[in-house]
């Protein structure tokens, strides 16, 4: 496993402040074996673990919160095809070894090395099935946009893994929309329901557009920035709604009935990816953990061997 990544066993992948945790390559490799990874998967696992240790990810919060986040791994670049990481049908489902075992290796490393055992430093109330494993690739060949990792500053020929914390996945259905506006209204509505986790500050979200919805956006020429801007504008509802639902304190005033509260702040708070099957009118949104208390991290995948 280590040899496939060109790694020494004592190489330090990172540290988690506050937990006195140092993550070393040999322990991650043992967990990758336990998870069922093929050796050639290990550079992706290594990149994901390094991303978890990055200060911007602020590991302690999303890993230990009652919100029970999955660590979502999005893989880009030439390594996707080489390893056979699924970017198509049944994107979030079962059946592909790379997707299943890379995500599982990361979670086992969290539990066994990063002190993230349920009931101890993982205080999830419910958790979610993505906590077993959550790994997929972008379908770069059929995306309306440049590859996701390129939009985050890397080169097209590089491979990369992006790590993002989310406590839920919501599928969006729309079989009639032929233009972006009605389609994106569905996303905006789903992302500002009264039960969304974060209403005190601003949120972030991962949007995954699958085949038919990707086609609508491709034909329209809308950029990622256009998509995000539209959703920022429409993912809002009156302050009074949140007060009536006791999501904000106090009784609603007359002014609250006409004062909108936005859920999102900036276009770059959206991660926008194209992936999933060609057929069907389904896409997905995954709200981020916390009020931007963790930031997604994109890590180049090093293939040394």
């Amino acid at each position: 496993m280590l040899a496939a990544g060109g790694l020494r066993g004592d190489e330090v992948f990172g540290e988690i402040p506050g937990r006195n945790t140092v993550v070393v390559a040999d322990k991650v490799a043992v967990n990758a074996v336990l998870a069922g990874c093929r050796p050639e998967f290990f550079p992706v696992v290594a990149g994901a673990v390094k991303a978890l240790c990055h200060p911007d990810f602020a590991y302690h919060g999303p890993a230990s919160s009652t919100g029970g986040s999955a660590m979502v791994l999005v893989v880009n670049g030439p390594i996707v095809r080489r390893l056979g990481i699924n970017a198509g049908n049944n994107l979030f489902g079962q059946g592909v070894r790379a997707n299943a075992t890379i995500g599982r290796a990361v979670r086992l490393t969290m539990m066994n090395v990063m002190q993230t055992q349920p009931g101890l430093f993982d205080r999830a109330t419910l958790g979610n099935p993505g906590k077993y494993s959550f790994c997929f690739a972008e379908n770069e060949d059929e995306s309306p946009w440049e590859p996701f990792h390129v939009s985050r500053g890397l080169r097209r020929e590089q491979s990369a893994v992006t790590v993002y914390a989310s406590n839920s996945l919501y599928q969006i259905y729309n079989q009639l929309a032929a233009t972006p506006e009605p389609l994106l209204r569905c996303f905006a509505d789903a992302l500002c329901n009264l039960g969304v986790p974060n209403v005190k500050g601003y949120s972030q979200a991962l949007l995954v557009f699958a085949g038919e919805h990707s086609e609508v956006l491709a034909k329209s020429g809308w950029s990622r920035h256009d998509v995000a801007t539209f959703i920022i504008e429409h993912a809002r509802r009156p302050v009074a709604d949140f007060k009536r639902a006791a999501r904000l304190p106090g009784d609603p005033t007359a002014a609250d009935e006409t004062t909108p509260r936005a859920i999102f702040e900036r276009p770059d708070d959206f991660l926008i990816v194209s992936a999933g099957g060609r057929a069907g009118s389904w896409s997905a949104c995954l709200p981020g953990w916390g009020n931007k208390w963790t930031r997604p991290v994109t890590m180049p995948i090093e293939e040394r061997s």
């Binding site: 140092v22 336990l34 302690h60 999303p62 005190k200």
Partner: protein
């Protein structure tokens, strides 16, 4: 001979020395660390009021973390160290 690999590793043990506890709170300077969650600051300020009324403590500084997920930064720690005799850290939600 079968070699068994252990997938676990324990935290690195580091020696931590606790500051000496004051024998008496009367007249001491109070620092607060709030974690940015809902009502964290309100809870700590109420606590500061109680400590002022009961022991005559003066609140000298309230540090605000970058987020609940981040540690207290070094600059805030230095300020708390310079301006406080006792520090209370708390969360809200």
């Amino acid at each position: 001979m079968t070699e068994i690999f252990d997938p676990t590793s324990a935290p690195v043990v580091r020696e931590v020395r606790l500051a000496p506890r004051p024998a008496d709170l009367r007249g001491l300077r109070l620092g607060l660390i709030e974690n940015t969650k809902f009502n964290s600051d309100a809870l700590l300020l109420k606590l500061a009021d109680r400590l002022r009324d009961r022991y005559g403590m003066s609140m000298t500084h309230m540090a605000r973390k970058r987020s609940p997920s981040h540690e207290v930064d070094d600059a805030a720690l230095a300020t708390l160290k310079a301006q406080s005799d006792v520090v209370v850290s708390g969360i809200g939600d």
